[in-house]
Amino acid sequence: MSRLMMGLVGMLAAPMALASKWNMPVGVTETSREVYDLHMLIFWICVVIGVGVFGVMFYSVFAHRKSKGAKPADFHESTTVEIIWTVIPFVILIAMAIPAAGTLMRMEDVSGSEMTVKITGYQWLWEYEYLDSDVHFYSRLAPSSDAARQLDSGIDPATVDNYLLEVDNRLVLPVDTKIRFLLTANDVLHAWWVPDLALKKDAVPGFVREIWTKIDEPGVYRGQCAELCGRDHGFMPIVVEALPKDEYEQWVASYGSESMTDAVVDAGTPAATAPTTGPGALYTDKESAVDSDDSEASAETSGETEVAQADASSKPAAADTASGDISKATLMADGEKVYAQNCAACHQPSGKGMEMANFPALIGSPIVTGDPATQIKQVLKGKAAMPPFAYLTDQQIASVVTYTRNSWGNDSGVVQPAAVKAQR
């Protein structure tokens, strides 16, 4: 309650200081500034009309009341007045429509773009493919936010940096470049929205939509999925990091050569956001995210930290001694965590699925209890509504496959990382 009062006081006292909290961002593109100007223009038109109409109405309410002895007039129509108040709004609307149409046509003109990024929406993450280079990665809610957003997590969202607005792998883009995005989706409708770029478009499965932007200022710009896409619709943010052109070139050049396991993730530097598709990317980022939180949050997320450490410690084993088998107990323990992170939203912690046609139960599933190669292939490649999980490490996939094959009454043997590696 005290926060409510502070909020009220704060909002009443300092509207100017909190402009971004009250209003649409001006943004960092020519388009976003045009959109903002149109928004303010139509807003002030509405304010002026509102003040006029409500002024007359409330004057009448106060002055023309029976208790003040007002006698009713008997006029009830006036063709002149009615024509005037039909024509004037019409003229205002035309004045408004002309600049709006101009902006709309500029927004739809994707010609002359200098690079293209294909964006695919999944339940519930984004895939980015840079069509002019080899850069290709997935981007999902940052683990620190993901831990805090669980029901009764006990973590105060205020202690999490950029709660719900941070991802593991940011979309890195150059400034001063006309960038075309090709938008599609794999399963259901999503919408890709970054307010600072004034870009929002639905991602439609089976169709490709084009949008474009040209960012003026380096910086980090955050957005979210804007089209209801199921259970975790609120948890698939978008983070764009705009870099000066030369830094962007360096980033692209280092992208392929950079050893994935060495990726240093540190929120302050461009390198930090290097998308990594290789082993450990997810959890390395998680570790740093946890570190950057205050101690209370790290304590709360110790479960997540454990995963990170377990993963980090077992990495050399997976990389160097592929022949060395990992014990079933380790695989099961790791697998349970990987499952909770990646699979449980659809297939449920109980393994019973969501009784929806597309989220089948894993208990007794022919794929989970049958040939391991089929299951590994499906985890790697995805199928129908299930996205591909190829960005997980061999050991993570082996763990989660082992976990599903030996939980909830399933009893179908152990899968080692080598088997996953063989199928990549």
Partner: protein, 547 residues
């Protein structure tokens, strides 16, 4: 069509009451073909659904009170948003207006009942079954529909056992609406008392006539859209699946071809109620009666050619986006005419501010705010920023809550003395009005800000910068919800005949045939057509023949 009253076997001894025994009393309500009984049933049903849908809204607002997930799973949250909308639209607002139409249209145009009384009974009694099916989806495996009231595929096709129940429930609601609409059209066009020409009809009757045509035009479209969803899910069609040559966006076109006229179905009768209340309490004729009728008809026509403004971000050719932007902006013209006419009606009147008038004035003020945000949303390039944010949530709640629902509440206060024969408690009514109005604004006004600042709609959790506005909105929502128990108490008191006896005229400035019959209105009214005197129609028409 034979005269309705011919069918009543209880014609001579009145309707059964509880003192005649529970069985007789229950059968009276189940088998009734009396427009007043059915109006009462519709209104109570609407009231019940208002509380059920409201409870779901409070689940939503409780979860959104602060950031983080405290109470419900995100999937259940999505079920709440979808069910809240379906129940409020199809269960609360539409039956509320049908209830008012049942009660008032025959009494306003001077006929004894609706033209098709048995169809009327059927139309009502479908609804409890439809909503039992809909609400019971909360208890089936997989839970209730969670893809929003708009049911966009492919997401809606992920609904589990609830899916066929949802679609069957919608079909039943559609049948109910269509029968009701046909009844209204047939009654108004055939059964007006001699002298009640079309351009002498009260505005409420006019707006309902136009609404009824909209219903007949678009409810079958909704039925078609949801049937295509059904065959896509169970019969291997691919209307909305690209893999089979279909297009998910086609559903949106079909849905909003229904959905936008539906928006006006939810608001045109409200215009009629407000146009009836304001002249009464301003003691002055409605300004610009003819232009009100033409504006209503224009809005109805435009409602068919603006649907894709709900889909600016879905992807359309530029020409289509421009067309839908311009046509949508045009709606501001006839809507503006209506607002100007209401203000001109108040101007130099002799106003008093009983509860119905308070609701009507709040309607003009707050609905217009919703209209302004609607005009902003019409600007396609800016809509890309507003679309699917809390700005949109603020917009449509401003036109639906202080719009449609305030009009229903105002109408109930206005006609309650005529229905019950007693005056409601005016002090309680004013408390209800002021609490409701204050809390509505506390709830929905901050949503404009959170939406502009970037909060998407239909999310169960949000970034911390939206926390203050959400906390305020949640406080407002609980205040709004609990204020409605005052309304419930007032209506129950009136039904129990507790209060001062009402006169036939009830309000000093009231004109219209409904005020020429005693209060409470007899079970059967106007079994012989009344003489339509100038005094009862001049309040709404332009030839002031009286002194």
């Amino acid at each position: 069509m034979s005269h309705a009253a011919d069918h009543h076997d209880d014609h001579h001894h009145g309707p059964a009451t509880l003192s005649d025994g529970f069985g007789k009393w229950a059968m009276r309500w189940i088998s009734t073909t009396n427009h007043k009984d059915l109006g009462t049933l519709y209104l109570w049903f609407s009231f019940l659904m208002f509380f059920v849908g409201g409870a779901m809204a409070l689940v939503i607002r409780a979860e959104l009170f602060q950031p983080g997930m405290q109470f419900v799973d995100p999937e259940f949250f999505n079920q709440m948003t979808a069910m809240h909308a379906l129940i409020m639209i199809f269960g609360a607002v539409m039956p509320g207006f049908v209830g008012l139409a049942n009660w008032m249209i025959p009494m306003m145009i001077g006929c004894s009942d609706l033209a098709l009384p048995r169809v009327n009974n059927w139309g009502f009694w479908i609804l409890p079954f439809a909503f039992t099916i809909l609400i019971s989806t909360l208890f089936v495996p997989g839970g209730a529909p969670a893809a929003g009231w708009t049911m966009y595929p492919p997401l809606s096709l992920q609904t589990s056992n609830a899916f066929p129940m949802l679609i069957f429930a919608i079909h039943l609601m559609g049948i109910s609406s269509i029968t009701g609409a046909i009844n209204v059209v047939v009654t108004i066009l055939n059964m007006r008392a001699p002298g009640m020409t079309l351009l002498k009809m009260p505005l409420f009757v006019w707006t309902w006539l136009i609404t009824a045509y909209l219903l007949i035009a678009v409810m079958p479209v909704l039925a078609g859209a949801v049937t295509m969803l059904l065959t896509d899910k169970y019969f291997a069609t691919s209307f909305f699946s690209a893999a089979g040559g279909g297009d998910p966006v086609m559903f949106q076109h079909i849905f909003w071809f229904f959905g936008h006229p539906e928006v006006y179905i939810l608001i045109l009768p409200a215009f009629g109620i407000v146009s009836t209340i304001i002249p009464t309490f301003a003691r002055k004729q409605l300004f610009g009666y003819d232009s009100m009728v033409y504006a209503t008809a224009s809005i109805a026509f435009l409602s068919f050619i603006v649907w894709a403004h709900h889909m600016f971000t879905a992807g359309m050719p530029i020409a289509a986006e421009l067309f839908f932007m311009f046509s949508t902006m045009l709606i501001a013209v006839p809507t503006g005419v209506k607002v100007f006419n209401w203000v001109a009606t108040m101007w130099r009147g002799s106003m008093t501010f009983e509860t119905p008038m308070l609701f009507a004035i709040a309607f003009v003020f707050l609905f217009t705010i919703g209209g302004f945000s609607g005009l902003m949303l019409a600007i396609a390039p800016v809509d890309f920023q507003y679309h699917d944010t809390y700005f949109v949530v603020a917009h449509f709640h401003y036109v639906l809550v202080p719009g449609a629902i305030f009009a229903i509440m105002g109408g109930v206060y206005y006609w309650l003395p005529k229905w019950s024969g007693v005056m409601y408690n005016e002090t309680a009514g004013k408390w209800h009005f002021w609490l409701t109005t204050i809390f509505v604004n506390v709830t929905f006004f901050p949503m404009h800000f959170s939406g502009l600042a970037g909060m998407p709609r239909r999310i169960p959790d949000y970034a911390v910068q939206f926390a203050d506005f959400n906390m305020i909105a949640s406080v407002g929502a609980f205040g709004f919800g609990f204020s409605q128990f005052i309304f419930l108490w007032i209506v129950i008191q009136a039904c129990r005949r507790k209060g001062e006896a009402a006169t036939a005229r009830v309000w000093e400035g009231a004109h219209g045939l409904e005020w020429t019959v005693p209060s409470p209105a007899p079970y059967h009214t106007f079994e012989t057509p009344p003489v339509v005197s100038d005094a009862e129609v001049t309040a709404v028409h332009d030839e002031p023949a009286h002194a």
